[in-house]
């Protein structure tokens, strides 16, 4: 995770630095900026990083408002329409006679139940309606409602991205799955960063035997092939859990593995920070060790922590996907991007119903966006680059 600290020398950086200093000397009118403001400014100028930021904002907003955006609840299945193809291409505006209508879909007529092929039942048409009433949902445990952004009237069904093997709407499950798959990255990184900062801080500050023991633990954790150990730990805890518990277990296991790389680098930074005069001053004032570590040392590592945390989020997202795909993560009927991909682990399903691969594209987008943002933040936090 942390071995991607690509060093980039920028010859033009030195030049522009010199220019910047000249400008400052010429006109005193240039307002002074805090390091955080400089970082933010540099980030805003990085188009790729901002693209990542916007994509992430969109994905996370969609996950939060999944209940409203999704036409159905994640476990609302139409058992007569397993693997129904996507209806995106079957949204019509002209009827049989060529008359113009608002967008509508036809009813579903099963053709062959064995091969799971369907045709359109042209005798029934269901117009696409907005703000329709449907399944109950909650938004962030606060808002309770049954109004959905779009949908069709009752006997009709709309499968924008197709249906899965029991006839659940893929579009709805993608939105609900985003809640699990995307939030696990944020929650996991939050916990492991806290642990990593604390342990790294303690190891670096106290040194000696404490440092030695903690760093050996870190080395063992870094040497493990993480996925195998996550798998074994997951098996240790058994399978008799609700999906909320499984979620928490996964987050804790991932955080337990993930804090090590963070702790090692924080320790290195603390080793140099603790030699500064202001730490000596804090000690002379009689502050406690933990107060010095938490209030005076760790805040100075924050810009670095934010960068590595951003770059580590994909590890959590991909691990959740892997665990759920292997069948030891989030269980059906609950949706996660990983367990949705399980449908694709069957050559016939994969070739006949390729839309089951849809969650993969979303995972790719989310992870790529986090990487873009993380690289952008790293460049922005690097004082050697100026623009």
């Amino acid at each position: 995770m942390s071995n991607r600290n690509v060093r980039e020398e920028k010859p033009e950086a030195a030049e522009s630095a010199a220019q910047a200093v000249d400008q400052m000397l010429d006109s005193r009118s240039v307002p002074s900026r805090s390091p955080w403001q400089i970082m933010l400014r540099k980030l805003r100028r990085n188009r790729v990083a901002m693209l990542g930021l916007y994509v992430l904002a969109g994905l996370y907003l969609a996950a939060i408002f999944a209940g409203f955006l999704a036409p159905y609840q994640y476990d609302n299945a139409d058992h007569d329409a397993p693997f129904h193809p996507p209806m995106l291409t079957r949204l019509h505006v002209f009827d049989e006679q060529g008359n113009f209508h608002r967008p509508f879909v036809y009813g579903i007529k099963p053709e062959d139940l064995q091969l799971k092929t369907f045709s359109e039942d042209k005798t029934k048409s269901y117009p696409l309606r907005f703000f329709v009433r449907g399944d109950d949902y909650h938004i962030l445990w606060l808002v309770h409602s049954d109004i959905h952004l779009f949908g069709v009237d009752a006997p009709g069904r709309i499968f924008l991205f197709g249906a899965d093997k029991v006839g659940q709407d893929l579009c709805s499950r993608l939105l609900y799955g985003a809640q699990v798959s995307l939030s696990i990255g944020i929650v996991g990184i939050f916990i492991s960063t806290l642990i990593g900062m604390l342990i790294g801080g303690i190891a670096g500050y106290f040194g000696g035997a404490v440092d030695f023991v903690l760093m050996r633990v870190v080395e063992v954790l870094l040497a493990l092939p993480s996925l195998y150990f996550i798998l074994i730990m997951r098996q240790t805890l058994g399978t008799a859990f609700s999906s909320t518990q499984v979620y928490l277990i996964m987050v804790l296991i991932l955080a337990f593995i993930g804090w090590a790389s963070e702790a090692r680098v924080i320790r290195g930074m603390v080793l140099s920070i603790k030699e500064h005069e202001y730490i000596v001053a804090a000690r002379a004032l009689g502050y406690g060790n933990m107060r010095i570590i938490i209030r005076h040392i760790l805040p100075n590592t924050l810009s670095f922590v934010i960068v590595t945390a951003t770059l580590s989020v994909p590890f959590y997202i991909l691990s959740e996907v892997a665990l759920s795909f292997l069948g030891v993560g989030i269980q059906e009927p609950e949706a996660s991007w990983g367990n949705m991909l399980r449908d694709a682990n069957n050559v016939r399903f994969l070739t006949d119903f390729p839309w089951v691969l849809m969650p993969g594209f979303f995972i790719l987008c989310a992870v790529m966006a986090w990487n873009f943002l993380g690289d952008g933040l790293r460049d922005a936090a690097d004082p050697r680059t100026l623009n």
Partner: protein
């Protein structure tokens, strides 16, 4: 050199002990055992179950005791019998280790063969389209979930029929093939898993190669070499590449764990009979001796891989002495 090797191998012993102890403790603490399922089946006699309990000390829930009962015979070269198949673990695991080595080895070669030229070109043609393209490829390789990439590869194989959709060799005709055909068949099955695993690994190497190369090319000895009148190509490939490649070898040691983790998913999707699928299946069946042996082998592979990286670095870089 000998002392270095000895010291490194000795340093690996605590790691092996910690890792196997952790695995053993977690398996002991996990609810249920292999016998729970066996008891359900009418065709398995109670005597057999009682014997299993006695031989493997399955009654004990003391993690230290259980670990000792695994460790002591293991130190004498006896890894126990698989619960599920009752065959000695050592006879089952060898082939799996070879298969995983085959897959990870070819994936490594694939990623190095692509990463070095791409990284060099990206550095030489910095900020031009070649750089941007390779930057995009590296983002793609870093971001694509190996599960998804494997599934895409299988979809490609199934739609075009150019490659097999999984497995390590053609089950139906394997017995009729001569050794040449068997070799070709295995290679043919190896292509897609290698591409998947190799592309994911390539991204890291390529980024590292690019940034090292950029740094090296900006140094004085490169300007000197150019000033002597050497051709640009000779400078890049003889003078700069040799200096820029060292950190890549170090990275190889670090990325082994990631590679083996990625191999688990690739093996799972491609039904590749390697260590990853073995651990997964044995975990599901709670076949403890099998899991323990596989975890020990995996850790051993990591340790040896890291050692190889160090030795390789010493061979490439004359400034490093192994003492």
């Amino acid at each position: 050199m000998k002392i270095f090797l000895l010291r490194r191998l000795l340093a690996a012993v605590p790691l092996l002990i910690v890792v196997t102890f952790l695995a053993s403790a977690m398996l002991t603490l996990s609810p249920g055992s292999f016998l729970d399922e066996a008891r359900m089946q009418p065709n398995i006699s109670p005597e057999f179950i009682a014997r299993m309990e006695r031989v493997y000390h399955l009654n004990s829930n003391n993690i230290f005791e259980r670990y000792w009962y695994w460790l002591w015979p293991a130190l004498h070269g006896d890894l126990g019998n698989s619960y599920a198949s009752q065959a000695p673990v050592s006879s089952l695991i060898g082939e799996r280790v070879v298969n995983t080595l085959l897959l990870t080895g070819s994936a490594l070669i694939f990623s190095w063969l692509l990463a070095i030229p791409f990284g060099v070109f990206a550095a030489v043609y910095r900020n031009r389209w070649a750089d941007k393209l390779s930057g995009f490829i590296s983002y793609f390789g870093l971001s694509i979930p190996s599960v998804f990439f494997s599934l895409l590869a299988i979809l490609f194989a199934a739609k075009t029929g150019l490659f097999p959709v999984g497995g390590i060799h053609d089950q139906a005709n394997w017995d009729d093939m001569n050794s040449g055909q068997r070799f070709a068949d295995t290679l043919w099955h190896l292509v897609l898993p290698t591409v998947v695993l190799g592309t994911i690994g390539m991204a890291q190497y390529m980024r590292q190669m690019r940034s090292e190369m950029i740094e090296t090319l900006s140094q004085d000895f490169i300007r000197t070499a150019r000033a002597k009148g050497l051709s640009w190509r000779r400078v890049v490939f003889r003078h700069a590449l040799g200096n820029a490649i060292n950190p890549l070898v170090t990275l190889f040691g670090f990325s082994l764990a990631t590679l083996l983790s990625g191999a688990l998913l690739t093996e799972f999707v491609f039904a590749w009979p390697g260590l990853g699928t073995l651990i997964y299946d044995s975990l599901i069946k709670k076949d403890e001796p099998m899991v323990m042996a596989a975890v020990a082998m995996l850790t051993l592979m990591l340790v040896v891989g890291n050692l190889l990286a160090d030795i390789l670095l010493a061979i490439i870089d004359p400034r490093i002495r192994l003492e």
